[in-house]
Amino acid sequence: MDLKQRDLKQQDLKQQDLKQDSKSSNRRGFLKGGAALAGLAAGAVQSAKAQPPVAELRAKGTSKEQVAYGDRSKYETSVRKSVAERASPDAFGLVFHVNAPLQDFYGSISPSSLHYVATHRGAFVPDIDPKEHRVMIHGMVDRPLIFTMDDLKRLPFVTRQHFVECAGNRAKSTQTTVQETHGLTSNAEYTGVLLSTLLKECGVQKGASWIVAEGAEEVKGAGSIPLGKAMDDCLVAYGQNGEALRPQQGYPVRLMVPGFEGIFQIKYLRRIKVVDQFYMTYNDYGHITTDARAAALANQVGPKSVITFPSGGQKLPGPGYYEISGLAWSGQGAIKKVEVSTDGGKTWKDGELRTTPYRMAHTRFGFHWKWDGKACEILSRCTDELGTVQPSRAQVAKYWNEPLTKGFRAKGMDNTIMAWRIDAEGSIHNGLA
């Protein structure tokens, strides 16, 4: 019996009860009548009781949705979107960068299905059988080792929240929503083995100073990571938000390099080579710059925050109470403080951290606010555990000795303050526009 038939049968039973008619022959006859009859009967009940029968209130679904693997409500329509600069799939059929709908997220965890996606070059998601997958560590180690997924899962694990953010995550005046301005970051709970556990198992040799981490996808995307970072808090992760990593996030195993730019977080991890220099391989090549300061800013993310409600493209129905909500994160550690301004940055008040501020993880903040119905500009800025404060675009332009134009582009990872402009009608606009 499929679910529809079961619903009908239960509806039928209700019907019988309502009529206080328990004759089995009647019931059998009713079932024979099928769906059309059942519909008529349901209509009769509705008019009699002035409310829809229970079966109509129930969500319809297949056994996949209701039993095997749950889906969200049909009323929830939040989706990811390709970055404006390049459609996905592109002319080559490659998925490039896809923005997460930050405006629809609650708390600090990004749902796995809505986690932003970016690829090394614009790559196909590889179809990897975890039984066949291996992770090899070699190079400047005493004992090169090769691990199966089962091997990795035997080892001591840690579970940690971390964000990933793309260097392309920079607000531009042409964008409308927070999904467009800040949607190339997401945050998840990862489970896996510390890379230091694996490296110690192999015995890192004297003189080693970098690792090259490499993926198993068609282009074998690889990047160089300082050994100090590799031994500190990098994670060889197979779990994401309580289940296996999603294919778009590196199934069956990826490297997490907390706080570093997204491109270092090698997906489909298959190999780590311990070396004695920066290797300037595939992914590193894109980071080449003549300015050491720009290079440093491109490696790691500074303290950054953004208001996700109210945010661009939304509308406040009228004056009154609204809780301002947003996300704050830093590549340098945990968030200590978030401040909010509702007067264009003239005055700042402390917001409240609503989730535990973990190191290199999104932290949700809230801020009590009563909108008086007048045009205003709302901003947030955060401070991380090192005491670094999220800078304004003006401060960054001044540092580089460049004029603060509308098109000013912060070098490296852009962590500047974002403003949303609210007009008297309650419509919310990009403050950079």
């Binding site: 490039f96 298959r270 290797y279 300037m280 800013l297 960054v396």
Partner: protein, 200 residues
């Protein structure tokens, strides 16, 4: 006995070395074979020490560039395709074009995305072609073919002067690229240290 002494000393030193290194705590995982390592070890460092044996010239590379389908995406002459231009002198790439990782903004400046001019080391170019090209058949080029296509791109961008010049392990290791000094090394990372001192 005197002749054995250095051997003994080496043995003792080797034993001590094992003592200094981290000992395996779990005994999980197995030792890969030399062939397994060789098959996967495709990363070529800037000094090119991992470059495999092989050789090729620009003349051969020009033929392979078309034969292997490179021209289909990058343009028959390395200019004018949907994929990034590989030869200098063409018009700037258009926004929306496929660009190498981290170089999405490069279409704005002519020639900045030309790999043979941007790569500080010839080995970087070799590594990129070897692992990442051609589209849908990545990793299938033989070393001789990668050397030839590398030579072709170097010749077309006037990094080398002759289309008959043989590129191999030695020549690529020694070749001084135009952008050799045009990049800043990524600074070392230290825990609990701001990413850049004095940055606001």
């Amino acid at each position: 006995m005197a002749s054995l002494k250095p051997v003994l000393l080496t043995a003792i030193l080797a034993a001590a070395q094992i003592g200094w290194a981290q000992a395996p705590a779990y005994g999980v995982g197995r030792t890969p074979t030399a062939d397994e390592i060789k098959a996967w070890d495709i990363a070529i460092g800037p000094d090119g020490k991992e470059l495999p044996p092989g050789k090729g010239t620009a003349k051969e590379g020009a033929r392979l560039f078309l034969l292997k389908g490179c021209g289909g995406c990058h343009g028959a002459t390395g200019i004018g395709g949907r994929a990034p231009a590989l030869v200098k002198g063409g018009p700037p790439a258009v926004p929306g074009q496929a660009m190498p990782a981290g170089m999405e903004g490069m279409h704005m400046v002519p020639d900045t995305g030309i790999m043979a001019l941007r790569s500080p080391y010839a080995a970087t170019l070799w590594d990129y072609i070897s692992r990442g090209m051609p589209l849908n058949r990545e990793g299938t080029l033989k070393p001789d073919e990668v050397y030839a296509i590398t030579a072709f791109l170097l010749y077309k961008n006037e990094v080398i002067k002759s289309e008959d010049e043989v590129m191999d392990q030695d020549t690529l290791r020694k070749l001084v690229m135009p952008n050799r000094k045009g990049y800043a090394e990524i600074p070392d990372w230290k825990r609990n240290t701001p990413r850049l001192a004095n940055y606001p």
